[in-house]
C-alpha cells in the first residue's frame, strides 16, 4: 500500500472517530435540543448550567431564549449556527477540550451583538445613527449582564 493511502486512511479514520464521538454526544446529550427554542434544552449540558442559571435570573428570561441571543435572525444562518455550535460543542464537551471559564467566540459574540438589534432596533436607532463609519456600536460593552447577571 502507498504511504499516502495509509495516511489517507489514518486521517479518515481519525475524522470518522471525531464525527463518531461528536455525533454520539450530539444524540446522547439531546444535541437535537439545539434545534428547539427551549432554553432548558441548552442546559442538557451541565457545562451550560451556569449560563442557564444566570439567564433564569436575567431581565430577559421571560422575553428572550438562548437562541434569541445566540443564533442569527435568518432561518439558514440560525440552523447552521445551531449545527455548528451543536456539533462542535458536542465534540468539545466529549473531549473536554474547551476553556474554563467559557469565553464566547468572536463569531458568536457578533451574532449576539446583532441579536440585540432584533428587538431593540427602534430604541437604539438614534445612537446607531451617528455610528463612526462602518464600526458597529457594541451593546455588550455596557450590557454584558443582560443575559447572565453575575
Amino acid at each position: 500500500m502507498k504511504a499516502t493511502t495509509i495516511k489517507g486512511i489514518a486521517v479518515g479514520s481519525v475524522l470518522g472517530l471525531a464525527i463518531g464521538i461528536g455525533g454520539y454526544t450530539f444524540i446522547y446529550a439531546k444535541g437535537a435540543s439545539y434545534l428547539t427554542n427551549n432554553s432548558a434544552a441548552c442546559a442538557n449540558c451541565h457545562i451550560m448550567q451556569e449560563h442557564y442559571d444566570g439567564w433564569i435570573k436575567s431581565s430577559h428570561r421571560s422575553v428572550a431564549s438562548c437562541n434569541d441571543c445566540h443564533t442569527p435572525g435568518n432561518m439558514v444562518g440560525k440552523y447552521w449556527t445551531k449545527a455548528d455550535n451543536g456539533f462542535f460543542h458536542s465534540l468539545a464537551f466529549t473531549t473536554g477540550d474547551f476553556p474554563d471559564p467559557l469565553r464566547i467566540k468572536p463569531r458568536n459574540r457578533k451574532i449576539t451583538e446583532n441579536a440585540c438589534l432584533k428587538c431593540h432596533k427602534d430604541i437604539a436607532h438614534d445612537i446607531l445613527a451617528v455610528g463612526q463609519g462602518s464600526e458597529p456600536l457594541s451593546c455588550v460593552r455596557c450590557h454584558r449582564e443582560v443575559g447572565h447577571p453575575k
Binding site: D122, I123, D126, V130, G131, Q132, R141, C142
Partner: protein, 436 residues
C-alpha cells in the same frame, strides 16, 4: 402608547431646518434635536459634590464683571494656593469650574484677564470657535486659528458669541463626532508619533469609541502658548505622563512664570483630565469620557446621550450602574475613598512645597546668590508641576487613583530634597535649639 413611540423612533433625525458648516447657534440645531438641546441647556445648573460640581455664589455685578453668580473661590478655600502661584495670574483669581454654559463668561470676566494681557488663543477652549476660525481663515480652519491665537483677547472675543456648541463636536450633516480643535489635532498627532504611529489624522483614523473621548480631550488637557505666535501647544511630543510632559518642558526650556518669592522658573499645570484618565484602568478598559459624563438615557422611545454634561456623581444610576451593579451609595463611597486618599496626599504635598518656598525665600533674604539657589529652584519647579498636575486635574484622583497618588508622592520627595539642598547637618552644640 407603544405604537406612537415606535413611529417617533422611526425618524429620530427628522429635520425641521437645514444645518450647514456655518450654523453655530445651538438653538437652531435644537429645532432638529430638541431632546439633546434641552439637556445641553441644563449645564447652567450648579450643584456641588464633595470635590466636584460647583456652588453658586451670588455677587453684585459691576461694569467690569456683570456676572451676578460665580462658582466658589478655590483661593479662599485654600490660601496656600496663593503662595504656590505667587506672582502668577492664578494667585489673583481661581475658581471651581462649572457647567459648559458658563465657559465664555467665566473666561471673559476672570480677574486673570486684569492681572495680565491674555491672547486670543484662550478662546480655543471657551467658545464655539469652529465657524469664527473658518471665517477668519477664509475657509481654512488652521489659518483662522493661527490668526486668532495671536490677537489680543479682547479683540478676538468680538469674533465669538457662544460657549462650546453643537457644531464644535458634530458634523452638521451626519451628526457624527468630529474634532474641530487645531490644538488637539496637532497634539494627538505628536503623541501618536511618539508611539510610532505616523501622520495620525484624528478625524480619519480614530474609532467611534475613541472619538467619545477625543471630543472632550480637545479642551480638557494641559497646554501652553508657544512663542510670540501664542501658538496653542499640547506638550505631548515625548508622551502623556507627567514625567514625559515635564521632560518636554525642560527640553524646550519653557516656564509659565517666575515665582515672585523664590525666582523659580515655574510651570502651571491645567486640567489634565485626558492625561490622567489615560493612565487609569477605565481608559485601559475602553471606557470613554462620554460613557460617564454623557451616559445614555431614555427619553420616550429614544435612547440618547445625556447632553447635560456634569459630575457623574449627580447621575450615578446611568453613569455607573450599567457596568457596576453595586448600590448607588456603595459606588459613591468607592469614589470618595479614592478621592479622600488623593486629597490627603495633595495636602501633604502642598505643605512640603510651601516649606520649600519658605526656605528658598529665607535663603534669598539672607543674601544667598541666585546661582546657589538654582538647585532648590529646580526642585520647586518639579514639585510644583507634579502637585499642580493633580491639584488642577478635576476628578481629585478618581480618573487614575494610584497614578495620582504616585505623582503626589514624588512631589513630596522633590520638595523635601529641595529643602535639603539648602540645609546641612548641624554642629552638635546648636542642635537642641535648632530642632523644630
Amino acid at each position: 402608547n407603544i405604537f406612537e413611540r415606535k413611529q417617533e423612533a422611526k425618524n429620530p433625525f427628522y429635520r425641521v431646518v437645514e444645518l450647514d458648516e456655518y450654523t453655530s447657534d445651538p438653538a437652531i440645531w435644537g429645532k432638529n434635536f430638541p431632546l439633546q438641546y434641552d439637556d445641553y441647556k441644563k449645564t447652567v445648573d450648579q450643584v456641588r459634590t464633595r470635590y466636584g460640581g460647583s456652588e453658586a455664589f451670588p455677587r453684585t455685578p459691576t461694569d467690569a464683571d456683570p456676572r451676578s453668580i460665580v462658582a466658589q473661590s478655590r483661593l479662599e478655600e485654600d490660601p496656600r494656593l496663593k503662595t504656590m502661584w505667587s506672582g502668577y495670574a492664578f494667585a489673583k483669581d481661581f475658581r471651581e469650574e462649572r457647567g459648559h454654559a458658563y465657559m465664555l463668561d467665566d473666561q471673559t470676566y476672570t480677574e486673570r484677564q486684569v492681572a495680565a494681557q491674555q491672547p486670543g488663543a484662550c478662546l480655543h477652549c471657551h467658545a464655539s470657535v469652529y465657524v469664527p476660525y473658518k471665517k477668519l481663515g477664509e475657509g481654512d480652519l488652521m489659518k483662522g486659528w493661527e490668526k486668532m491665537n495671536k490677537m489680543p483677547f479682547q479683540e478676538a472675543r468680538q469674533l465669538v458669541d457662544h460657549p462650546v456648541a453643537c457644531i464644535d463636536c458634530h458634523d452638521a450633516e451626519t451628526m457624527q463626532l468630529r474634532v474641530t480643535r487645531p490644538g488637539f489635532i496637532e497634539g494627538i498627532r505628536a503623541l501618536k508619533a511618539s508611539q510610532g504611529v505616523k501622520d495620525f489624522d484624528v478625524n480619519k483614523h480614530a474609532t467611534r469609541q475613541e472619538m467619545r473621548t477625543y471630543a472632550c480631550a480637545q479642551c480638557h488637557v494641559e497646554y501652553y502658548f508657544k512663542g510670540q505666535e501664542k501658538r496653542l501647544v499640547y506638550p505631548w511630543a515625548k508622551g502623556i505622563k507627567v514625567d514625559e510632559i515635564l521632560a518636554y518642558y525642560d527640553e524646550v526650556k519653557h516656564k509659565d512664570w517666575t515665582h515672585a518669592e523664590t525666582g523659580a522658573p515655574a510651570l502651571k499645570a491645567q486640567h489634565p483630565e485626558f492625561e490622567l484618565w489615560s493612565q487609569g484602568v477605565h481608559a485601559r478598559s475602553g471606557v470613554a469620557c462620554a460613557d460617564c459624563h454623557m451616559p445614555y438615557k431614555r427619553e420616550g422611545a429614544h435612547k440618547i446621550s445625556d447632553h447635560h454634561v456634569r459630575s457623574p456623581l449627580l447621575n450615578i444610576n446611568r453613569a455607573c450602574q450599567t457596568c457596576h451593579k453595586w448600590p448607588e451609595e456603595e459606588l459613591r463611597a468607592r469614589v470618595r475613598t479614592n478621592q479622600d486618599r488623593t486629597y490627603k496626599m495633595r495636602n501633604l504635598a502642598m505643605d512640603a512645597l510651601i516649606d520649600l518656598i519658605v526656605d528658598i525665600k529665607k535663603a534669598r533674604d539672607t543674601g544667598k546668590a541666585e546661582a546657589d539657589l538654582a538647585k532648590a529652584q529646580d526642585f520647586q519647579r518639579k514639585a510644583q508641576f507634579y502637585l499642580d498636575f493633580i491639584e488642577a486635574e478635576n476628578s481629585m484622583g478618581f480618573h487614575a487613583p494610584q497614578e495620582a497618588v504616585r505623582i503626589l508622592g514624588e512631589s513630596i520627595d522633590f520638595s523635601r530634597k529641595g529643602q535639603m539642598s539648602l540645609r546641612k547637618m548641624e554642629p552638635p552644640a546648636t542642635v537642641s535649639r535648632a530642632v523644630n
